[in-house]
């Protein structure tokens, strides 16, 4: 099913934001919409969006490839993205990530065996005063979790695990 069939009102609302002669502007919001269900963008989604916006599939793919929050490969249901950039690193984020990685038994870039969480190390998330921190990205959106400890993170993961069942 195409995005326009699946989410007619939302697609219409997105297109209405931009001048009709510049509907290519809708590519980013539509890619977010395409990720909603499975958390990643399929080949069919790219072709669908390209057709809707009079773009080539290659152009759409180049957008997906350029921006780090667009994914076209399956990962865990939740991507737990820990900032270890300069501000957070000065406040213990690297050690936090190492300990969390040990507790979960996976390295950054890997996914827990149940497919729930992919651990990722990311660049600055503009929360340098609240390190250690991470964001959780899923098809439904992105939430910040700040001033975290390893213990609180493991509790959050347990909550997500229960919700996923």
């Amino acid at each position: 099913m195409s995005l326009a069939e699946k989410y007619p009102q939302e697609v219409e609302k997105i297109l209405a934001k931009y001048p009709p002669e510049h509907k290519k502007s809708a590519v980013m919001p539509l890619l977010y919409l395409a990720m909603r269900e499975e958390g990643y963008i399929t080949k069919a989604d790219k072709a669908d969006i390209a057709k809707l916006l009079d773009m080539t599939t290659t152009e759409v793919s180049s957008i997906v490839g350029f921006y780090t929050l667009f994914h076209d490969e399956k990962a865990g249901k939740y991507r737990l993205q820990v900032c270890t950039d300069i501000g957070c690193a000065l406040r213990g984020a690297e050690q936090y990530l190492a300990e969390l990685s040990d507790e979960l038994g996976i390295k950054p870039g890997e996914t827990t065996p149940d497919g729930l969480v992919t651990l990722e190390e990311v660049k600055c998330l503009a929360a340098c005063d609240k390190a250690p921190m991470f964001q959780v990205q899923s098809g439904e959106g992105i939430q910040y979790h700040e001033k975290m400890t390893v213990g609180a993170t493991l509790e959050l993961i347990e909550t997500l695990r229960k919700e996923a069942k």
């Binding site: 510049h22 502007s25 977010y32 350029f66 503009a126």
Partner: protein, 418 residues
Amino acid sequence: MMKYMLLRHREIPNLNQIDVFLKEDGFEGFKKALKMDTNAVTDEVKAAGLRGRGGAGFPTGVKWSFMDKNNWPHYVVANADESEPGTFKDREIMESNPFQFLEGVAIASYAVGANVAYIYLRGEFWEVAHFLDEKIDEMEKAGFLGENIQGTDYSLKIYTHLGAGAYICGEETALLESIEGKRGQPRVRPPFPPSQGLYNKPTVVNNVETLSSVPYIIANGADRYREFGGTEKSPGTKIFSLSGRVKNPGNYELPLGSTFRELIFGEEYGGGIIDDKKIKAIMPAGASSSLIVADDKALDTPLTYEDVREVGGDLGSASVIVIDETVEMDWLITKTLSFFAHESCGKCTPCREGTYWMKAISERIHAGEATKADLELLHDVAKQVQGKTLCALGEFSTMAVVTSIERFPEDFEAKVYE
């Protein structure tokens, strides 16, 4: 006397609710602007001397006056990409004082004759964008957006647009490319956005904090704004995002012209260094900063666009990262270079290749696997990148490298062999 002009929510609870905002003189600036000639609005902002809070410090009113009046429609774009490591002020404004920001967008749009404005937020601000969408709806219902605003013939729509994880989109022309549905890569300038911006139409791009300063200026006049604080050339207050090795990191709104010492050591502000260690260096503009040696002269330097230059730095977006004696510079630049190598958009060669090689050499030095010649090579590569890149990102990537090697040579010499 009001303490805050921007972080007013710290004194007024629930300021992000429209009824509270209205009770606190909300939209008075916009209402007044709607009765003024558009040029008079721009002139007031010019007279206030407001300078862009995103980093470049360009006079805001002057930018507005550059809009090409022979080419329509005009657009206003709010830059809410906030991605400079060390910067976290715009998010607080949008979450806690959103209407003041939206009022600023509306006034700017009226002044330049734009009927559509976009707010470009970094993709990570997903929740903030959805929150702003609600606030925009409320503003429209209250008659401050939409058709025939407040009984005038002026109409305005504001839309949010989410980025998707790219530091470069904070650069204004890359941001415009991104809204147009392209990869966020900077354009060759000139033309500048006020001549050819979004969809090749005249466009004003202003930072969130800049726009949030505008309502006060219009409601109270340029003179009152200047009286609120700051200096002749750097008037007004500024939000300082303080992070790194300080006891109390956070956002602090201070008049421009306050000193690093007040900000970092003041009891109300940074509260000094963690474990009372010795301060070593200051990065006043996030990862893009030069490293300022934190001696008495630097600590007593007034925080203005002009004065920070005198001690070898730049005020930039005023994201002050504090470095103490426990931090070694060879490690520090592996962090900044890893950031810039990751965020380089790849369009121009000096930046794409330069950041990659600087990162590689810095990691070798940090690992103790480099020679003195490698250190010279790193410095040399950085110097060769300077002045040769399409946008400021490439230039920024070299700042910490060059200044840390020149000002803290002992940290590097201890790591390399002959």
